[in-house]
Structure formats: structure tokens, C-alpha cells
């Protein structure tokens, strides 16, 4: 059983800590100008973090106990390809999900 005091301590510290991480740079730097080389690195934050976040989920999905799975790999390839080619997020999601369900139906 989780202790109520410990639970609230975790929730409050985790809440404050998460807010701190989200606020640390926008809050502290504000409108002070950043050097060009810093800006150059920051331009790639999204493309450097999100693919790394997704990659293990695609290659080692929890649902299969961590072993690579053809329908999920195929769905990932279709989603990213459609996204790159059409820049249409909804179409990419739709075709990716169709691939996943089609693959699970055929192979499952």
C-alpha cells in the first residue's frame, strides 16, 4: 500500500520539478540574446529528441514483450514515409494505423 504522505510528497515535488525543467530556460533567459552557435543547436532540438523517443517503442514494443514485430515496424515505416512525402499528419496517422491493423489482422 502506498503511504499517503509519501504519495503527496512525490506528487508535489515531481510537479514542481517538472515545472522547473519546463521553465528553466524560457524563465531564466527570457529575452536576453543567445549566441549563434547555441541557436544553431537549438534549431534541431525537436528532430533530435522525438525520433530517439519513438525508436525504442518501435523496435522493442512493450505489447510483444520487447521483441520486434512486423506489423508495428511496417506501420512505423509507412507513417514516417507518408509524413515526409505529403507533410500531412492526419494522412500519415491514418495510413500508419491502417497498416498496423491490416498487418495484425493478416499475421495475427
Amino acid at each position: 500500500m502506498i503511504d499517503t504522505g509519501e504519495l503527496w510528497l512525490v506528487m508535489i515535488v515531481l510537479g514542481l520539478g517538472s515545472f522547473g525543467l519546463r521553465f528553466v530556460f524560457t524563465g531564466l533567459i527570457g529575452d536576453r540574446p543567445l549566441p549563434a552557435w547555441v541557436l544553431r543547436h537549438l534549431r534541431y532540438t525537436a528532430v533530435a529528441v522525438l525520433p530517439g523517443l519513438v525508436a525504442p517503442l518501435v523496435v522493442w514494443p512493450d505489447a510483444t514483450g520487447g521483441s520486434p514485430d512486423a506489423p508495428r515496424l511496417a506501420a512505423a515505416v509507412v507513417t514516417i514515409t507518408v509524413g515526409v512525402l505529403t507533410r500531412n499528419m492526419l494522412l500519415a496517422i491514418f495510413l500508419g494505423a491502417s497498416t498496423l491493423y491490416g498487418g495484425l489482422y493478416l499475421l495475427g
Binding site: L14, L21, F23, T26, R43, T45, P51, R87, M89, L104
Partner: protein
């Protein structure tokens, strides 16, 4: 294009954020279920989502609490999952640094993967936008996402059952994120950063506290910046 109203920008944000309802609903419901199974009551469960508002960190914390991990380990592990938020905060500085402190604090609270990713794509595309327009768009994206996160946490806590497993909803996160990543691949530098990020995340997956992602992020950013410099020099030389 200069005639865009605040209202139309807000609705653009709402529209761009809406596909993530597909992720938010099942995962906040699941969090509600998992948290109540771990012994939290409905109020504590909803308070958790409201205070922390970060899916992966919440799941990590509840899982560790349930297994009687020491409090300090619970906090370190869950905060490590959220370290990427600091990188998001840094990359928002050039766009939102001139907003008021209150506005920046509000943006910080609502910074999740989806609100950040949609906004950064749009800010990069629409360099002409004012800070006010950027904020309007950000809160537009957050509108279909964040309230649903609280609401379906409560639903999950009250009904106590998650979506059926046959729906393969585990893959809703990868698919919606991949659909976001596609349009980000604008230049060779972006593509290179993405590939390095994937490779590094897989190679460093063994690191504890989700630190592999942090390594992947830093290496990806360095790659993007480096390729940008190389390509700029090449373009410079190519000029007559």
C-alpha cells in the same frame, strides 16, 4: 497572410492538436486505471495528472511507488524521464523569450511533447508571427490535449478498466509522433539529426533513468548544427 486574426490562429492550433486526442484519451484513462489499482483514490489520481501533467513520468512514478521504491529513487527516475522538457524550454527561448513572465510560466506548465512539437514546427514555418500570435497558437494546441488529460484520468479512475488490448493502442504514441516527425525533415541537417537520434537512442537504451534519450538528443543536436554549417559553407562556395 498578414490578415490572420487571433481567432483563426487559435483554431489552427486546436486543429493541429486534435489528432493527439487519439493518444491522450487511451493513455490518461490507462493512467487512471493503473493509479487506482496501485491504491490511489480518485482525487489523488486526478491531482497527480493535474500537478505533473506528463504521461511517461506519471506512469514511472506510480509503478515505482507501487513497488515500494525509496522516495528519492521515485523522484529521480520520474524527473529523468522529463529531462527532455528542459531541452524543449531552451529551444522555445528564441520564439517566446519576449513574452511576459506569467505567459512563459503558463507555457511551461502546458509544455508536453505534443504542444511543443506542433508549436516549434509552426514557429519555424511562420517567422513573421508576433510573440502574441505564437502564444495564441500554443494555447490553441493545448486546448484539445491538456483538459482531456485531466478528464480521462478521472474517467479511468472511476471506471477502473482500460481500453481492450486488441486495439493495439500501445502503438498510438509511436504513430502520432512519427506523423509529427515527418514534416520536420526539412533539410539534410534535420534528416541527419533524426538518424543520429534514432541510432543513439537504440545504442544507449541500456543507460539507467532514461538517460539514453538525453544522449541521443545532444548528439542529434550536434549533428544537425554541424551539417548546417557544412551545407552553408558549401552553398557559399557554390555562389558565382
Amino acid at each position: 497572410m498578414a490578415t490572420e486574426t487571433t481567432k483563426s490562429i487559435f483554431w489552427q492550433g486546436v486543429r493541429d492538436g486534435s489528432p493527439f486526442i487519439l493518444v491522450i484519451v487511451p493513455f490518461s484513462t490507462l493512467f487512471g486505471v493503473v493509479a487506482t489499482e496501485a491504491g490511489l483514490n480518485v482525487f489523488e489520481t486526478v491531482a497527480f495528472s493535474f500537478l505533473v501533467i506528463a504521461g511517461a513520468a506519471q506512469f514511472t512514478a506510480v509503478e515505482l511507488l507501487r513497488n515500494d521504491a525509496p522516495t528519492i529513487i521515485v523522484l529521480i527516475s520520474a524527473l529523468a524521464v522529463n529531462l527532455r522538457m528542459a531541452m524543449y524550454s531552451a529551444s522555445l527561448v528564441p520564439y517566446l523569450g519576449r513574452a511576459t513572465l506569467g505567459q512563459r510560466a503558463l507555457v511551461a506548465y502546458f509544455t508536453v511533447d505534443q504542444t511543443y512539437a506542433c508549436s516549434i514546427i509552426k514557429y519555424d514555418e511562420r517567422r513573421d508571427w508576433t510573440v502574441r500570435q505564437r502564444l495564441t497558437y500554443f494555447f490553441g494546441v493545448a486546448t484539445p490535449i491538456c483538459p482531456l488529460w485531466y478528464f480521462f484520468t478521472a474517467v479511468g479512475a472511476m471506471i477502473g478498466t482500460a481500453m481492450p488490448e486488441g486495439l493495439a493502442l500501445d502503438f498510438a504514441i509511436p504513430i502520432t509522433f512519427l506523423a509529427l516527425i515527418g514534416p520536420m525533415m526539412r533539410t539534410r541537417a534535420h534528416v541527419a539529426a533524426g538518424f543520429v537520434s534514432v541510432a543513439a537512442a537504440l545504442v544507449f537504451a541500456f543507460l539507467p533513468f532514461n538517460l539514453g534519450l538525453l544522449v541521443a538528443g545532444v548528439l542529434g543536436m550536434m549533428t544537425g548544427a554541424q551539417v548546417e554549417v557544412i551545407d552553408a559553407r558549401r552553398a557559399e562556395r557554390g555562389k558565382p
